[in-house]
């Protein structure tokens, strides 16, 4: 804005007395200076504790374990030779995609169910169903962990009622994968519910009335009105959740610590294990750097989605 205004002044200023021009410029400068100083704390936090660490991570990833000399891309090369690394890649993908899919599905279903209720009861149900999202994740995961306990598992007790034998929830690698995904779906679905419910309410009711008069049934209304109107909010939420789920740490760390046999490790937990627990900071940094491209691509799409949604809402 400052330059724009100044360039607008520049050509035809001959008729203005010089000292006045200086004063206007000074006033403008003062205003933007104040604005800049108001942003300075924000810029310090983002610059010093986000941007700098992000760049520093790249530097760290090229050091040797003792952090005494640069070894180029040797850390990455080393990772590629490790079987665990590829397991982490595939488990991260499985974990994020499956969990997000079910979160979105359950969110969509529950949002519709709540939206069906009379307006008075909606608030109560919404409040109840959001509890998993409000509890600190590491603490609620403790509850899940206890429910999966090998000896006293509350689930196994329920299964026994139907004559089904004990399931080794956390000691069998595949059941462990299932368990962490289940916990994640439980935690994340309410977020989708809230977002979709808000989006559902923002669809003008006269659209549905018009569709009823045109003879659309419930399913046709859903496909031709609800889905298109919610499309951008669905994609924003899914992408956002993909990032958060992909980078999850709490659930797996509390429940399995990556075990059994490293089968439930995803990027964050493995980076933690290598970098903090085993003290190989450069290797840990290299692992977490692999998250960057995936998160970056999702972020670009989210930004586009948000811009689009903002235009739609105007």
């Amino acid at each position: 804005m400052v330059e724009a205004t100044q360039s607008a002044y520049a050509p035809a200023l001959t008729s203005v007395i010089p000292w006045r021009r200086g004063r206007i410029a000074r006033v403008l400068r003062r205003r933007s200076t104040i604005a800049f100083f108001m942003c300075l704390p924000l810029l310090t936090v983002i610059g010093g504790l986000v941007v700098y660490p992000a760049l520093y991570a790249i530097n760290l990833a090229t050091l040797n374990k003792a952090m005494t000399k640069h070894i180029g891309f040797d850390n990455f090369a080393f990772l590629f030779t490790r079987e665990t690394f590829w397991m982490v890649v595939s488990q991260s993908a499985i974990f994020a995609l499956t969990a997000v899919f079910f979160k979105a599905l359950i969110g969509l279903i529950t949002a519709h169910l709540v939206n069906n209720l009379p307006a008075k009861g909606q608030r109560k149900w919404r409040g109840m169903l959001l509890v998993p999202w409000v509890m600190p994740l590491s603490l609620s995961t403790l509850g899940w962990w206890w429910m999966f306990d090998p000896t006293y598992s509350a689930f196994n007790w329920l299964l026994a009622l139907f004559g089904i034998g004990k399931v080794a929830w956390l000691s069998d690698p595949y059941w462990a994968r299932f368990s962490v995904i289940l916990d994640n779906v439980w935690y994340g679905a309410p977020f989708f519910l809230i977002m979709y419910l808000a989006a559902l309410r923002s669809v003008p009711t006269d659209l549905y009335e018009a569709a009823s008069i045109d003879g659309a049934n419930a399913w046709q209304k859903f496909v031709h009105i609800t889905l298109p109107m919610m499309q951008s909010i669905i994609s924003i939420t899914v992408l956002f959740s993909l990032i958060v789920t992909f980078a999850n740490f709490d659930i797996i760390w509390v429940m399995t610590q990556g075990g059994p046999r490293d089968m439930t490790h995803i990027f964050a937990t493995w980076a933690f294990k290598l970098g903090i627990q085993s003290g190989d900071i450069p290797l840990g940094a290299s692992v977490s750097l692999f998250m960057f491209p995936i998160l970056g691509i999702s972020a670009i799409f989210i930004l586009r989605g948000v811009a689009k949604r903002s235009r739609e809402m105007q």
């Binding site: 002044y9 203005v16 206007i24």
Partner: protein
Amino acid sequence: MAEVSLNNIIKRYGEVIAVRGINLNVADKEFVVLVGPSGCGKTTTLRMIAGLEEISEGEISIGGEVVNDVPPKDRDIAMVFQNYALYPHMTVAANMSFGLKLRRFPKAEIKARVERAAQILDITDLLERRPKQLSGGQRQRVAMGRAIVRNPKVFLFDEPLSNLDAKLRVQMRTEIKRVHQKVKTTTIYVTHDQIEAMTLADRVVVMNDGRIEQVGTPHELYHSPRTRFVAGFIGSPAMNFLPCKVERNGAGLVLNLAENLSFPMPADLSARYGKAVGKPMIFGLRPEHITEPRGGAPGEKSEFTANLDVVEPMGMETMVFFRIEGTEVCGRVEPTSAGGPGQPMRLRANLNHMHLIDPATNLAL
């Protein structure tokens, strides 16, 4: 109390020029209305007077002092906004006293001023309410109250009535006029509604495309518009415009509107329009000057027969629409004399009120 003068004001937004050189003097205690279509620069001009926009070129002075570099709060002005801009978290009284509090007026003085303003505007019982609990008209009053308590040199109004429904708008129009007669503060008022402009103003400034088209009393603007724009903008329904030719016929002039439609011009106008002979011209006549023949001899020379397209009864009068050479023309006739659509009707044009406009310059002759 003070006069306001604008000296060759220009406003640019980058490449776009919003105001292209405005010269205007507003006298002390005068009520001036800036009117024009949207985008004509009237609001920008007002905001420059308020100090909310930088002035690209030119000088604005209030009470003889150049205020170009004076921030809004030190210009001693008050402004009423289109959306009222009431502080939603404050009561009506707090809204009105906010400006005085910031200026550290003594409490008793603030109270007295708020009460007096509330009395003028008849909002004394609303003082403890919040803006949300008020109707549109009441909010409008509070917004005016906020201006009045400050007792500023100048009131600025930015389309204050455009968010009200039609009935309330008429009521508040009268209210604004009443308040001005009471407090007699110099007022600059912006609107796009020409009726509002005509009814409120001591002088009306018609703006178009960043320029002033004409400044004058409502009467002047209505009866002697200087440009085609003013002629068409002021008055409702709008003035009829028809392409025409002026021909000499002995001592007098003849107005030729169509192949078989020409009228002799009244003698006193013939002298004035002599230089229009032979050039393509635009003939302008307000609808109220196209009527059924009233009084005078039947068969007067400016009578003609028209085939009506549309007939709109309004109650006290009826609008009739017909075409001359493809251009739609509107007339205002007695309800009893109007025929139905598709029927011919005898009409008379009162040429004493005609205007001639040169299409090359769009100026009235």
